[in-house]
């Protein structure tokens, strides 16, 4: 059924304002079938607005949106059987059991009893919730509620799942478990579009759209984005980060210098050229340092570079 490479979501020139606020300001991107696609940006970047437009629950001011072959602006209802939308606060019924919640959502989507039992059994096993089936949703931990919400959202076997900040407030261990689950779903040919404000997590996606103030900064695979950043990142570990910054921030070739807890991160034009220069600058001072090395840019580095117009065009 799945056709790798073919796009399941195509967004062109999307705009949506609320009063004088341009929540989404001319956004275009494609999501390929079978991938985990991250809409990445801080709170207020427009991620939720995009999600809601894709789900057909909010209309765009202009632009086109095609999801699973449906023109969402024209036929917002027809898209709903192909997709699932899991908003930040998914409505679970706390006084219903796991099984009852699943049955409720299956009914809502018109899922047959046979399909419900088959899909629920598979997803309950996958999430490790099988033995809690009769437990009330209100008695589940945060991580378990998240998993139940995901099962409810998947009960009609959608081709595309829209997840709006599924890991906000979720601790790193549960987050790891959730991602494991998402990769399992991906292996079953489900396409996942995930909005997140958590930049470190973005590296787990196959493809990223970095969004800032309703606009696209860049869209690419995380490893390609890293190669597109103008400049390279160095990390100096020192007991005295503030002095280190005072010494090095204005040195030749240093574009950016950020204090971190146990040192500084520097963006330089050319690591190979600047490292020996910076090292000899430090040796002229009393500054002690335990490590000085080139590190891979973080998504935060890419985001800052993108907002400053320092992400180069696609490689090749």
């Amino acid at each position: 059924m799945s056709h790798p490479g073919e796009s399941i979501v195509a967004v062109r020139g999307l705009r949506r304002s609320f009063g004088s606020t341009k929540a989404v300001d001319g956004l275009s991107f494609d999501v390929s079938r079978g991938e985990i696609f991250g809409l990445v940006g801080p709170d207020g970047a427009g991620k939720t607005t995009v999600m809601r437009i894709l789900a057909g629950v909010l209309t765009a001011d202009s632009g086109s949106v095609e999801v699973a072959g449906c023109d969402v602006r024209r036929y917002p209802e027809s898209v709903k059987s192909h997709i699932s939308y899991m908003p930040q606060r998914f409505g679970l019924y706390e006084n219903l059991s796991i099984d009852e919640n699943i049955a409720f959502y299956a009914g809502l989507f018109g899922v047959s009893r046979r399909q419900r039992e088959e899909v629920a059994a598979r997803l309950l096993a996958l999430t490790g919730l099988s033995r809690f089936r009769s437990r009330l949703a209100g008695k589940l931990s945060g991580g378990m509620k998240q998993k139940l919400a995901l099962i409810c959202a998947l009960i009609h076997e959608p081709q595309l799942v829209l997840l709006d900040e599924p890991t906000t407030g979720v601790d790193p261990i549960s987050r790891g478990e959730l991602w494991h689950l998402l990769y399992e779903l991906q292996a079953q040919a489900v396409t996942l579009l995930i909005a997140t404000a958590y930049l470190e997590e973005a590296e787990r996606c196959n493809e990223l759209a970095l969004i800032h103030q309703g606009r696209l900064l860049a869209c690419d695979k995380p490893e390609h984005l890293k190669r597109r950043m103008a400049g390279e990142v160095l990390r100096l570990v020192t007991p005295d980060p503030r002095s280190a910054r005072d010494y090095l921030a204005a040195a030749e070739g240093v574009r950016n210098c950020v204090l971190i807890g146990d040192g500084i991160r520097l963006v330089v034009d050319n690591a190979e050229l600047r490292m020996p220069e910076l090292r000899s600058l430090m040796l002229q001072t009393e500054l002690r340092f335990s490590s000085f090395e080139q590190v891979s840019p973080t998504i935060e580095d890419l985001f800052v570079a993108g907002a400053a117009g320092l992400l180069q065009g696609a490689p090749q």
Binding site: D171, A187, L199, T298
Partner: protein
């Protein structure tokens, strides 16, 4: 210890601290010294005991055993006295949306017992550090996420507390504003303020001088981010770019010498010991017909460290 010599003994001194709720031990014999001017990150999954520890530091909850000194005050004996010395910034800080920035500051200043010229001066100061100079009349609800967090920080610092407690202070904010926020925290720290940061966000952890990892009520690791990244690795960590990552991950878990495999987008992070990764991993993958594009050693991220240190702990899931 008597009040007054807190500087030498550390701004926050926790010894053998324990809190039990019936049969459940939320905090289990924790000993921790936070230096004056230090930014300490407190990390751990839900239920690890972070919130309980912080409540005991603030004098809101009495420990079952052990002692806590904050800014030289014995918190167990003088729970009320410690509050004047604390500032608190939460992710959901209770700023009043329908008040202006200046009104919020005056309100919180009043609650901390400031008045007259002293209050006027501190409100001016707080507006300046919040980046709201001359914008005191803006309604709080009209401020963006980054400015709200800085205003919350301004509110918390109005009464010049020597100790600042921050709960996920910069989650979800614009990266540029996040850097400015941490710049401020480090500036306060340089002036002698001690900050305790509780967070789930490992990219916030990088801004802390030292990190304390908690699990099941215990302190399981303590060190600078750099120390933790290097010391934690039970073996080496390699990044493997290959086809079919989900299938490849399952398969590599069974390879001798492989501790753990996590999928990261288009690649795998494989933690290994005592093996030649290039040859062994490539051979295993290719034997199953999975093409392997590259294998390279990488530095563990704090997320990798966290998973390694805590991932194997079995735990029930109580709400924190």
């Amino acid at each position: 210890m008597t009040p007054g010599n807190g500087e030498d003994a550390g701004a926050i001194r926790v010894e053998g601290l324990t809190k039990r709720f019936r049969s459940f031990t939320a905090v289990d014999n924790v000993t921790l010294l936070v230096r004056r001017g230090e930014v300490l990150g407190l990390l751990g999954p839900n239920g690890a005991g972070k919130s309980t520890l912080i409540r005991m530091l603030c004098g809101i909850m009495r420990p079952t055993a052990g002692c806590v000194h904050v800014a030289g005050i014995n918190v167990v004996e003088h729970a009320e006295a410690v509050r004047q010395h604390l500032g608190y910034v939460s992710q959901k800080f209770s700023l009043y949306d329908d008040l202006t920035a200046a009104e919020n500051l005056r309100l919180f200043g009043g609650l901390y017992g400031l008045g007259g010229q002293a209050l006027v001066a501190r409100v001016q100061w707080a507006l300046a550090i919040s980046g709201l100079d001359g914008k005191g009349d803006v309604l709080t609800r009209d401020l963006g996420g980054g400015l709200r967090r800085r205003l919350a920080l301004g509110c918390a610092m109005l009464h010049r507390p020597p100790i600042l407690i921050l709960d996920e202070p910069t989650s979800g904010i614009d990266p540029m504003l996040r850097r400015q926020f941490w710049e401020l925290i480090h500036q306060f720290a340089a002036e002698g303020v001690t900050a305790l940061v509780s967070t789930h966000y490992l990219d916030e952890a990088d801004y802390c001088n030292r990190l304390a990892l908690m699990s099941a009520g215990r302190l399981v690791a303590l060190g600078t981010p750099h120390e933790l990244r290097y010391a934690a690795a039970r073996g080496d960590l390699v990044r493997v770019e290959c086809d079919a990552p989900v299938r490849a991950a399952e398969m590599l878990k069974a390879v001798p010498g492989v501790h753990d495999v996590a999928i990261f987008g288009n690649a795998l992070h494989v933690s290994i010991t005592n093996m030649e990764p290039e040859a062994a991993l490539r051979a295993s993958l290719e034997a199953r017909g999975i093409a392997c594009m590259s294998i390279e050693a990488i530095e563990p991220s704090l997320e990798d460290v966290f998973a390694q240190r805590l991932g194997s702990d079995s735990r029930e899931e109580p709400a924190d």
